[in-house]
């Protein structure tokens, strides 16, 4: 039986649940039968379902690129904060400098409680406390790293929203200066420094991800009422302007 959304996300705090709403509507590439073959216990396959929580921010598989979070190909053996061109939090950079390398143990510890493992991480995820699910997720992630016995080559898991967002809307070029002004509506709560003290960081997101998220609030796919009423008042151009500014506010 396929897990229903309810039981899949049951133990996850509302703050995260509401962010997962969007994800339920994403178009997901069907899983290749190869996983089943090499995954006798089915662990990695179950891990794919756990991975859906990560999917809104992280791409994995063939052609995966950095999104809100870095892509997760070749994660095993990667130095923390080690992808060139991705804007990591300062804490991640220093963790890497101090020698943190991702392996089964470090990934497990980080996933269990991200904020205590790397204080100041921008990953807006409260942690995966269930050990079984953690192991499954790690088994899944491992398929996409060279040290895997059976390196997965799948079509990329990207995070395009599944609700009908006019593709033209994603193409609008944002007026960055207008975005900077409008950003002041956001910075009452969302910190420009990217700190997350209870309200997620929204800096350095790919513009498309930002636009998709705002439209998900606007059409009420995402449920936070504060964000819904803010988004409701923003035109497509204004959302694009905000996305352009927040993509790189220090520019």
């Amino acid at each position: 039986m396929r897990p229903t959304t309810a039981n899949l996300f049951e133990h996850i705090p509302i703050r995260v649940q509401r962010q997962l709403q969007l994800l339920l509507l994403v178009t997901i590439v069907t899983f290749s039968p190869r996983v089943m073959l090499s995954d006798e216990t089915g662990e990695a396959h179950r891990g794919q379902q756990v991975y859906m929580q990560c999917h809104e921010c992280h791409e994995i598989g063939n052609g995966a690129t950095n999104g809100i979070g870095p892509h997760l190909n070749q994660l095993f053996g990667r130095v923390a904060g080690g992808i060139d061109g991705f804007h990591y939090s300062p804490s991640f950079i220093s963790a890497g400098a101090e020698g943190l390398v991702w392996n089964v143990d470090s990934i497990a510890a980080y996933l269990e409680d991200p904020q205590s493992y790397i204080e100041g991480t921008r990953m807006n995820y409260p942690g995966l406390r269930d050990k079984e699910q953690r192991d499954e997720l790690i088994a899944f992630l491992r398929l996409f790293s060279d040290d895997s016995d059976d390196l997965m080559v799948l079509d990329s898991y990207t995070n395009e929203p599944g609700f009908s967002l006019d593709p033209d809307v994603l193409e609008i070029e944002g007026d960055r200066e207008y975005g900077e002004y409008l950003s002041s509506l956001c910075t009452t709560c969302h910190q420009l420094a990217g700190e997350d003290a209870g309200i997620p960081a929204i800096i350095n997101w790919p513009e498309r991800a930002f636009v998709a998220a705002m439209h998900a609030y606007k059409n009420k796919t995402r449920t936070n009422p504060v964000m819904q009423i803010i988004a409701e008042r923003l035109s497509d151009e204004e959302i694009a302007a905000l996305a352009a500014y927040f993509a790189d506010p220090q520019d």
Partner: protein, 421 residues
């Protein structure tokens, strides 16, 4: 081609091609903005003007205190959820990171003809644009028997700092089974849910340390903000502890006696152990001195928060009479950004964008039981008008309430960074 705004402004300024920047008073080279009051209105507007004009505007912030203690979250201090130090914030970064001239003094005079502000220390500051965000003052004798000399016996704790500490110590010193009384303010006042969040926090403390104690609220208002949410929470968490006396039972006919520590409600005298008098409010005195008030508050234009009486004076936050926004830190901060954008446009010709306003107020009822109310607003000819809003519902899950509380923590960190970093 993408031109960076800052580069553009500098280059344009050098070439003298900016759209007719207003000539500043007394031929001073850089236009001058004087901001009075360093709260959410004043600190935010000073920071945004300075930060976004990269030195093209001379910004002075006048604020008597060296450390600003936030009223927001001060109820959480009363409940024991925060330390007083967590509520205090200094102005150092405004000076060092943004080049704002921070002057710790009181503004005591405004001459709108010569465009100067006089400080208590005697100096004069010239301005091209003056921004007033002095918050509120209390209307003396609005509660019979109470005036500022009584505030040590019966604190308002509605300007945060020593008053808040005093109130907390009085609550902690209450005898077993003692009585805490609150005289709630009439509309309009700062932070509509504030008195009721405070009652919740006092109840939280008493439940833990003095469970037979009682809370009485004398309230001149028929209804109050988030009423059903608070009443539901009080019933669930503090059954039998809180008695609110509305105007239908004489909650509007109140006098206090700070010497005998009694509160008289509709003729009935009660001896109390802690008494929190929150009097009626009006705009901070300097707004009246400057002659931009009409009655208790200062009317402003919704497009840019400029005074209806003087286009070169803006009034922000609690002191302003703007329309539908509640007097909150969130509102003052939101208004400050609209004002900053308009003032920069007027002084150095930067782009002026349409006014956007928003507000959300979170309140804590009991540990991890947070609720919120919020709205968006637009500028109309007449006022700042509410467009759409939301409020937490009764009967929400504990998880959602906890998430709402966590969100309020994030907001606090966010607005503090937005004011002081």
């Amino acid at each position: 081609m993408k031109i960076k705004r800052r580069t553009f402004i500098c280059a344009a300024a050098a070439a003298g091609i900016l759209a007719s920047p207003q000539l500043s008073a007394s031929g001073h080279t850089r236009p001058r903005v004087v901001v009075i009051g360093g709260g959410p209105g004043g600190a935010t507007v000073a920071r945004y003007i300075a930060k976004d004009s990269d030195g093209a505007i001379d910004v002075t912030l006048v604020e008597p205190t060296r450390r600003y203690y936030t009223c927001f979250f001060s109820n959480l201090y009363i409940g024991g959820f925060k330390a007083i130090e967590e509520l205090g914030h200094g102005y150092g970064a405004l000076a060092s990171a943004h080049g704002i001239n921070v002057v710790h003094d009181w503004a005591v005079g405004v001459d709108r003809d010569s465009k100067t502000v006089t400080l208590a220390g005697g100096s004069e500051l010239a301005y091209d644009k003056l921004i007033l965000s002095p918050g509120i003052d209390f209307i003396e004798d609005s509660v019979d028997g109470w005036n500022l000399t009584a505030q040590n016996a019966m604190p308002h704790a509605y300007k945060a700092g020593s008053q808040t500490e005093l109130l907390r110590s009085q609550i902690m010193a209450m005898p077993t089974g003692g009585v805490y009384a609150m005289v709630a303010p009439p509309n309009p006042y700062r932070c509509p849910p504030g008195p009721y969040e405070r009652v919740s926090m006092v109840a939280h403390h008493l439940k833990l340390h003095n469970p037979t104690a009682k809370i009485i609220i004398a309230d001149p208002k028929e209804k109050f903000s988030k009423q059903s949410l608070f009443e539901e929470g009080w019933n669930n968490h503090y059954p039998g502890m809180i008695d609110r006396i509305g105007p239908d039972f004489g909650g509007d006919i109140v006098s206090v006696d700070p010497h005998s520590m009694t509160v008289t409600i509709d003729g009935e005298v009660t001896k109390v152990d802690a008494c929190n008098v929150i009097p009626a409010m009006r705009a901070g005195k300097i707004v009246h001195t400057a002659g931009v008030a009409d009655g208790n508050w200062a009317p402003v234009n919704a497009v840019d928060m400029s005074s209806k009486m003087d286009p070169d004076v803006h009034i922000l936050g609690d002191a302003s009479l703007q329309g539908d926004m509640p007097k909150s830190a969130f509102s003052a901060n939101s208004q400050a950004k609209v004002c900053a954008n308009a003032v920069r446009g007027a002084l150095i010709g930067s782009r002026v964008f349409p006014a956007r306003y928003a507000n959300t107020c979170w309140s804590l009822i009991e540990t991890n039981d947070g609720v919120k109310v919020g709205a968006t607003y637009e500028a109309t000819d007449e006022k700042i008008a509410r467009v759409d809003g939301f409020i937490s519902s009764t009967g929400e899950s504990a998880d959602l309430r906890k998430a709402t509380y966590e969100e309020s923590e994030g907001w606090y960190a966010g607005i503090i960074a937005d004011m002081f970093n």
